[in-house]
C-alpha cells in the first residue's frame, strides 16, 4: 500500500468535506445539479413529443421545403408568439417551447452553481461561474441584434 505522504495531493479529502460546514455541501450540489439536468431534459422532451404529435397530426401530408434556408415560421419567432401558439395548441409552438426549455436547462444549471458557490463562500468560483453566465447572456443579446 502506498502511504498518503508519497504524493502531494491537490485537495485533501478532509478539506473537501470540511468545506461543507456551511449549509451546502459539495455532495448536495452534485445531487441538485443532477436533478436540474434530468428534470429539464424530461420536461422539455415531453413538450417536444406532445407538440410533435399535434404537428404531424395536422400537417402530416403537407410538403415542407427545407432545402433552402428561410428561417422559421413567423408565429414561433418570439416568445410571445410561441406562448400564444401553445394556448391555441399549435404543434410547432409547443415543440419550440420545449426546445427553449431544453436550451435553458444547462443555463439554469450554471445559474444554480453560482448561487451554490456563493453559499459555500467560494467567492473565486462564484466569480468564474458569473463570467460564464455573462458570456451566455452576451451571446443571447448579440443574437437578438443580428
Amino acid at each position: 500500500m502506498e502511504s498518503k505522504e508519497t504524493y502531494n495531493s491537490p485537495i485533501p479529502l478532509e478539506e473537501n468535506q470540511q468545506k461543507g460546514k456551511s449549509s451546502l455541501k459539495d455532495k448536495d450540489i452534485q445531487v441538485i445539479i443532477g436533478w436540474i439536468l434530468r428534470g429539464g431534459v424530461a420536461v422539455s422532451m415531453i413538450l417536444v413529443f406532445i407538440g410533435g404529435v399535434f404537428f404531424v397530426y395536422r400537417h402530416g401530408y403537407s410538403m415542407p421545403d427545407y432545402k433552402t434556408f428561410k428561417g422559421i415560421p413567423f408565429f414561433v419567432q418570439n416568445i410571445g408568439g410561441i406562448l400564444n401558439g401553445v394556448i391555441m395548441l399549435k404543434g410547432q409552438a409547443i415543440i419550440q417551447l420545449g426546445i427553449i426549455l431544453l436550451i435553458a436547462t444547462p443555463v439554469i444549471r450554471v445559474a444554480f452553481s453560482a448561487v451554490a458557490f456563493l453559499m459555500e463562500k467560494d467567492y473565486l468560483y462564484t466569480v468564474i461561474t458569473l463570467i460564464v453566465l455573462l458570456i451566455i447572456i452576451a451571446s443571447m443579446i448579440s443574437g437578438n441584434a443580428g
Binding site: Y7, N8, S9, P10, I11, L13, N16, D26, Q30, V31, I33, W35, L37, R38, V41, V48, G51, G52, F55, V56, H59, G60, Y61, S62, M63, P64, Y66, K67, T68, F69, G71, I72, Q77, Q92, A93, I95, Q96, I99, I100, L102, I103, A104, T105, P106, V107, V110, L124, I128, T129, I131, V132, I135, I136, A138, S139, M140, S142, G143, N144, G146
Partner: protein, 278 residues
C-alpha cells in the same frame, strides 16, 4: 417529401445516430448533419440548429448521471466553460460570415480527426504534481474508485484553456459537441485521468452548445419541424446506447465499423463541400 415521411425517416436515422454516438463516445451530431444535408437535402443551417439541440439533450441527460457518481470535476468544468462558451459565441458569430461549403469541408476534417481520437487506446494516467495555477484555482480533485478515492492534479492549464476555446468555436460553428477536442485538451494537454476527462467534457458540452444555441434560436436556424424528430430520436438512441454499453465487454469491432462509416461520411461532406453542393 411529406411531413410524415420526413419525420419517420429522421426519427429512425436520429435513433441510430444517437446509438452509435453514445457507443463510440463521438456524439450523435456527427451522423445527424450528414444525414440531414446529404440524404435529406436539408439546408446546413437547419441541420446545425437541430444537431445542436440534440447535443444539449444527450449531454445533459448523461451528465446528470455522472455528476451524481461524483466523478465529474465541477470546478474544473466551470473554469473551462469560460473558454468553451466564449469559443461557442465566437463560432456562432463566425457562422454568419463563413460560406456553407467551407463549413461542410471543415466538418469532414474534424469528423476524421475525432474518429482517429476515439480509436486510440487511452491509458490511465494520474499526475500527482500540482502547478501554481492549478493550486490557485483548486482544479485538482479526487474521484471514487474501488472503495477509495484517487487524487489527481491538473497540468498545463493555459494550454488546455486555449484548446477549449478552439473546441468551443468548432462546437458553435458546426453544431456538434466537439467532445473529442475537449478530451484532447483534458487528457492530452492537462493530463487528467480519462474517467474524469470524459465525464467533465460531457458536463461542459451542454453549456457550450447552449451558448451558441441562443444565437441560432433567434436567427431561425432551429426549425421545430426538423429539431423535433432529431432530438427525440438522438436521445432515445443515446439511452439505448448507454444500456448496451453496460452489457457488452468489448466494443472494439463496433468502433471500427463506426470509423469506416465516419470516413465515408467525411469524404462525402468534403467532396460535396468542394463541389459547392452544400
Amino acid at each position: 417529401m411529406s411531413v410524415i415521411v420526413f419525420t419517420v425517416i429522421l426519427l429512425l436515422g436520429s435513433y441510430f445516430a444517437g446509438l452509435l454516438g453514445s457507443l463510440t463516445g463521438l456524439g450523435g451530431g456527427f451522423i445527424i448533419i450528414p444525414l440531414l444535408t446529404l440524404l435529406l437535402r436539408v439546408d446546413i443551417h437547419y441541420a446545425i440548429g437541430a444537431s445542436l439541440v440534440s447535443v444539449i439533450a444527450t449531454s445533459s441527460g448523461s451528465a446528470a448521471a455522472y455528476v451524481k457518481e461524483g466523478i465529474t470535476n465541477i470546478r474544473l468544468g466551470m473554469f473551462l466553460e469560460i473558454a468553451t462558451t466564449a469559443g461557442a459565441f465566437t463560432g456562432a458569430v463566425l457562422a454568419i460570415y463563413v460560406p456553407t461549403h467551407f463549413i461542410a469541408i471543415l466538418f469532414g476534417l474534424i469528423l476524421i480527426f475525432s474518429a482517429v481520437i476515439s480509436l486510440r487506446n487511452r491509458a490511465e494516467q494520474i499526475v500527482h504534481k500540482e502547478t501554481f495555477l492549478s493550486k490557485k484555482l483548486r482544479l485538482g480533485g479526487n474521484y471514487p474508485a474501488n472503495g477509495g478515492a484517487i487524487e489527481y492534479g491538473v497540468s498545463n492549464i493555459a494550454g488546455g484553456f486555449f484548446m477549449m476555446v478552439f473546441a468551443g468555436i468548432i462546437s458553435g460553428l458546426l453544431g456538434v459537441g466537439s467532445g473529442a477536442l475537449k478530451v484532447v485538451a483534458m487528457d492530452g494537454i492537462m493530463r487528467i485521468p480519462f474517467k474524469v476527462s470524459t465525464t467533465t467534457s460531457n458536463f461542459m458540452i451542454g453549456v457550450t452548445a447552449a451558448a451558441s444555441a441562443v444565437v441560432y434560436l433567434q436567427r431561425g436556424y432551429i426549425h421545430p419541424g426538423i429539431a423535433m424528430p432529431v432530438v427525440i430520436g438522438v436521445l432515445l438512441g443515446a439511452i439505448s446506447g448507454s444500456k448496451i454499453l453496460v452489457h457488452t465487454s468489448s466494443s472494439k469491432w463496433l468502433r471500427w465499423v463506426f470509423a469506416i462509416v465516419v470516413t465515408v461520411l467525411s469524404i462525402q461532406m468534403i467532396y460535396n463541400g468542394i463541389k459547392g453542393n452544400i
